[in-house]
Subunit: 684 residues, 2 copies
């Protein structure tokens, strides 16, 4: 038998024995570490954080018997070999925690080591013995042995000093003096620097954390069609027009400007207005039917402008504190250069034609999907990745990915992983409006943000249940919701009510429930609510198939309040995080009430929204004052940031009344304490 | 750089990349398998079943896009290389399930494979096309391609037959005929036998299942001190006396007879009656102070008898359908031979003495714990394991392990793993009355059954919460509760009430809530309730420190009802399983009501217990008739198996009344349907 064969067999046997203990390794490692969080699918996927976040790691850590234990949290940037260490502390019920800050983009790793702390066990027992006046000289000799062992692990001057202490404990001195020396806190401090970690248990995984830019956690998106930005009705908009629109968007307070595909549009089977099967002359087609003789996913539609125009748009947005997000839709029109040059990336039908998209009996002959089972799949993957790389090189850092769930999952895990290794500041929004496990899997495998079911959650109880699922369960470790009241594909039945109140309700909810949210404008702020036909969620005269001209100055525009709410979001850290969201009871099911807090708790926002766009609603909200750190027997102030109104409240139950004909919500900043006489200088 | 170095570096890099996809492996494996159950800590530990059980495996399985998928469950005995396969079926929301039976003791493994099913996708789409009268000849050619590919994977006669079908679909025939042939169920059946599994995703783990004897799931324990079985007061009982007691225990209906340690007892620091620090002459000491000059853990106390006597006891028990369980307490008295022969297995103090057990300032000088951090730990492990082996060779198959949580966890995982590999029928009961995570860890790492907090759960709501945790959460996959109302260490405050009703309440709960339960007798059936002092849970004149003589024929003995309940347990499979336990509302918090069902649902037991030992209590129970498969508009019968009384009930709400002065509980067998005229022959 060759050495290689032997090794293979050994490996196979080891694998078969995977669940058995290997006594050679583990015999004296008595501490157990389990139930570690954050972990996604037992470490299969990284958990997500943003730059500056604190990562709180928890674990169940315990040992047999009654010995004291010690535990440390180890962390490092993945590119560094050097572990940093912080001590962990017990909480309750064998649960421990430790924290570290992630200050750099990219991946971190953490793990946990824990060991039986014989010194601490000895010290605890000695204190009990002293308490019972039951300590004997031999107890101090045992302590001296621990100290001498630590001295071996220490360098001078600590080593020498420790040896002195040990010598003293071994010497024949008065009980009082010996007790004092043995329980000296300074001695304990030095001893804790040199623990005996020979038999430390090392948690079996090095758990990965992906650290994204802050914008992954807190962003305000505005989607618009560049071709509809012309200031003359009927003229195809350009990047220059789009650039001219940027100050308007900046003034609304958004920071991500998301453009549907900007590429050449296919001619064959082009869709006409309102999704008609045949285009009329002059119809521009759908931007998602990507590819024409002028080029494909790396080209720009000639009517929009040039690559240089595009780069200027990116730069101008940046000057205004905004980022351009591009749509990546991996599909091809029949006129895409890929179809000619890379037939092998598509599925061929027996007659030699290429398989178009279909959902039998419906046919979408303007779209060819890629075939992820092609023998040339690796080349296909590489080409698709190169599309991202191209736009990254043009200055784009945010991508909204169209229907990622219709492309192979392994592709995304590979592609996003590769891209983020090189450009850790790049973000990906997953547009997968599909079944929940699929949406979650895409988030696990790398998407930075995800669209949600928010558009269709209108009732109080369904909103609470859904938001709690997103923010209070392990889902939050990998799935960052981005809440949209509308998109070009989604004009909900609620918005079809058409009233200003309906739009405001959905806007206030999105912007305060989601640290990440977005609207598709100007349709949203201009209250566009006409469906293409009853029962449809498609817009009439949808911009997906035609140019629209929008009169931004219409008096009923929501621009003022959108601008105000975005300012409130920027001024209040509570609205920039999703995890500290708590719903509070209201005795009226048409009113929803929730608070959000900044991580340090100092900024406290309370939101009440009237979910009924038709009627004035009132009720009593019930606040958990203690949880909110409000003194129970003192008044506090609720300042409505939307109207400027101020209310002095006291106690947990307080009256609210909201009239949809004005503003159907409150966004209160809570001042936890009103000043009283002793707060003023003249009192002193 | 040498080849070896290169390999090492490659391996290290691969490890660092562990979370990235390896495109060479995974590129076209489009199906995702996750959320697999049963799994304990992501496969770190095996799940537990007993012989004859059905293992229901569930997983979230899905793929990108709209293709149909297929999944199979693969399973094998761990010692076999050959996988068996069963198809999995979708439930809802991307959840799939499959089942297999475990018919042999030992370990099984299972895993899951799943793939995109192009044939089924084609078939589904064709049916839709036909429905819309939209099918074209080319659709059939595509089908023919699938069939031809399957023919390549098939053998004759299927292969030939499939080629015929393909040829037909390619031929120029009438639409109706082609449709019929393509959608033929026989064709589909044959095609399903030859799926295209080239790109099947294989779940990343082979999950282990430990299969124990049925007794691991369903057992009735009776603990007694052999030395108290003498028929003459004051004489030390022997194994022969114990043998004479067996028919009594068998008649009570128990099947496990558990004996505290039967080894020689230490002399130095021996405890006297009622745990006094110094023994009087003639005191026999605690059986847990194991070891004397006559021997240690493999020896028998000379006053009990010989190894041959012991083997006869085991044999006699077996003839009565019972098994002897031994207590394994890994600790030594100062007189244990280990202390002389293996000083290195104990901790030495600086003065050369051996460290006794202590909980400062309390000292337990009669007990030396083993030192699991000894450099000779491996020898220690082997010796401790050999203790089990010795008793296994004497015919013992069940061990109650004393305080396993004061010995190193890795030792138990290794020891139980090794023993069960050779003797898969051996069972281990963990006596760890300690913090919950420690109890659960011991169960995960191999203990077959565990004592619980049941002794201290007296209120209705705490009973419901605890039992739901044990039977409705993932805990049930590894932790098998064994419910005891008393033990020699636990005389609860509830039992100290001292009334017959108090004992009956706790007995009925233990025996019906726990498929595994036990009592410490004869103290239990003889209502022994005097604590050593107020506030203590120790018995007065505890058998732990002295011989007791019990008058089994006392008229107030619970023997009749114990015997009856054990018979009911044997006759009703519902009481032999823990998982199908459901609590039902009663409008009186002193009454607790629950049902248990056999796995096939046919046997339905309903229990109502009056938790108040002082007063008659009554109320209405509210039964979920539909869940219990009782017709809602028909009467049904509740037969009280304790009293023989029969009640005809109808509808969900029914009155119950329980008087603690008679029997404080009902154990109803529910007959779901009363016979009516059409059930009788004369009606026909």
């Amino acid at each position: 038998m060759t050495v290689e064969n032997r090794a293979l067999i050994d490996e196979a046997e080891e694998k078969a024995d995977a669940l058995a203990v290997s006594p050679q390794q583990d015999g004296r490692r008595r501490v157990i570490i389990e139930g570690v969080s954050p972990e996604v699918d037992a470490g299969r996927f990284p958990a997500k954080r943003t730059v500056g976040d604190s990562v709180r790691v928890e674990a169940d850590i315990f040992t047999d018997g009654h010995d004291q234990i010690a535990a440390i949290l180890l962390f490092r940037q993945e590119t560094s070999a050097k572990w940093m260490e912080v001590p962990m502390k017990p909480i309750v019920n064998d649960r421990w925690y430790g924290e570290f800050s992630v200050t750099e983009l990219g991946r971190y790793r953490y793990t946990i080591h824990a060991w039986v702390d014989h010194w601490e066990t000895w010290r605890r027992d000695l204190l009990k013995r002293i308490d019972a006046n039951n300590d004997t000289p031999i107890d101090y000799v045992i302590g001296a042995q621990h100290i001498e062992a630590a001295a071996e692990r220490a360098q001078d001057p600590d080593a020498g000093w420790l040896r002195q202490q040990a010598k003293f404990l071994r010497s024949d001195t008065a009980t009082a003096e010996r007790r004092e020396r043995a329980t000296d806190l300074a001695l304990n401090d030095v001893m804790r620097r040199y623990p005996d970690r020979r038999f430390a248990t090392e948690f079996e995984r090095e758990v990965a954390i992906v650290v994204d830019p802050v914008r992954a956690r807190f962003s305000s998106w505005y989607e618009l069609f560049p071709r509809s930005t012309s200031r003359e009705p009927g003229r195809h908009g350009t990047f220059a027009d789009c650039e001219a629109r940027l100050p308007y968007i900046a003034q609304l307070g958004f920071d991500v400007v998301y453009l549907p595909p900007v590429h050449p549009i296919g001619i064959r089977f082009r869709k006409g207005k309102n999704n008609s099967v045949t285009a009329e002359p002059g119809d521009f087609g759908s931007p998602w039917a990507i590819g024409a003789p002028e080029g494909g996913h790396k080209a720009i539609h000639p009517l929009l402008g040039t690559a240089e125009d595009f780069r200027r748009l990116v730069k101008r947005a940046s000057e205004l504190g905004m980022q351009i997000a591009l749509d990546i839709a991996f599909q091809a029109s029949p006129d895409h250069p890929y179809v000619k040059d890379h037939e092998e990336w598509f599925r061929k039908r027996p007659d030699g034609t290429i398989q178009y998209a279909e959902n039998p009996p419906k046919k979408y002959q303007d779209i060819y999907p890629f075939e992820f089972e092609t023998p040339k799949w690796l080349e296909l993957w590489q080409e698709l990745k190169s599309v991202f790389v191209y736009w990254i090189e043009q200055g784009v850092r945010i991508f909204r990915v169209d229907n990622p769930h219709t492309k192979a999952f392994p592709f995304w895990e590979w592609c996003i992983g590769e891209l983020k290794r090189e450009w850790p500041d790049v973000l990906f929004l997953s547009e997968a409006f599909t079944r929940p496990k699929i949406m979650y899997r895409l988030a696990k495998l790398g998407f930075s943000q995800s669209y949600t079911y928010f558009p269709w959650r209108n009732g109080k109880h369904e909103l609470i249940a859904y938001l709690n699922e997103l923010t209070k369960t392990p889902v939050r470790e990998f799935f960052r919701p981005n809440q949209w009241p509308n998109t070009p594909d989604i004009l909900t039945e609620f918005l079809q009510l058409g009233t200003r109140a309906a739009f405001l309700i959905r806007f206030l909810l999105a912007a305060t429930l989601g640290a990440n949210y977005g609207i598709y404008g100007p349709a949203f702020e201009l209250l566009e609510s006409r469906p293409v036909r009853p029962g449809s969620e498609e817009y009439l005269d949808s911009e997906k198939y035609q140019i629209r001209f929008w009169d931004l100055d219409r008096p009923n525009s929501l621009r003022e309040i959108i601008s105000l709410v975005n300012r409130i979001r920027h001024e209040n850290p509570a609205l920039q995080y999703d995890w500290q969201l708590d719903f509070h009871p209201v005795d009226n099911d048409q009113l929803i009430c929730y608070s959000k807090r900044s991580p340090d708790g100092s900024n406290l926002i309370l939101v009440v929204v009237n979910l009924d766009p038709h009627h004035r609603q009132s009720g009593f909200v019930d606040l958990p004052l203690r949880d909110l750190q409000i003194e129970e027997d003192r008044p506090y102030q609720a300042n409505d940031l939307l109207t400027g109104a101020r209310y002095v409240w006291s106690g947990p139950r307080n009256y609210v009344e909201l009239d949809p004909s004005s503003i159907p919500g409150h966004i209160f900043r809570i001042r936890r304490r009103l000043r009283i006489e002793t707060d003023f200088e003249y009192f002193l």
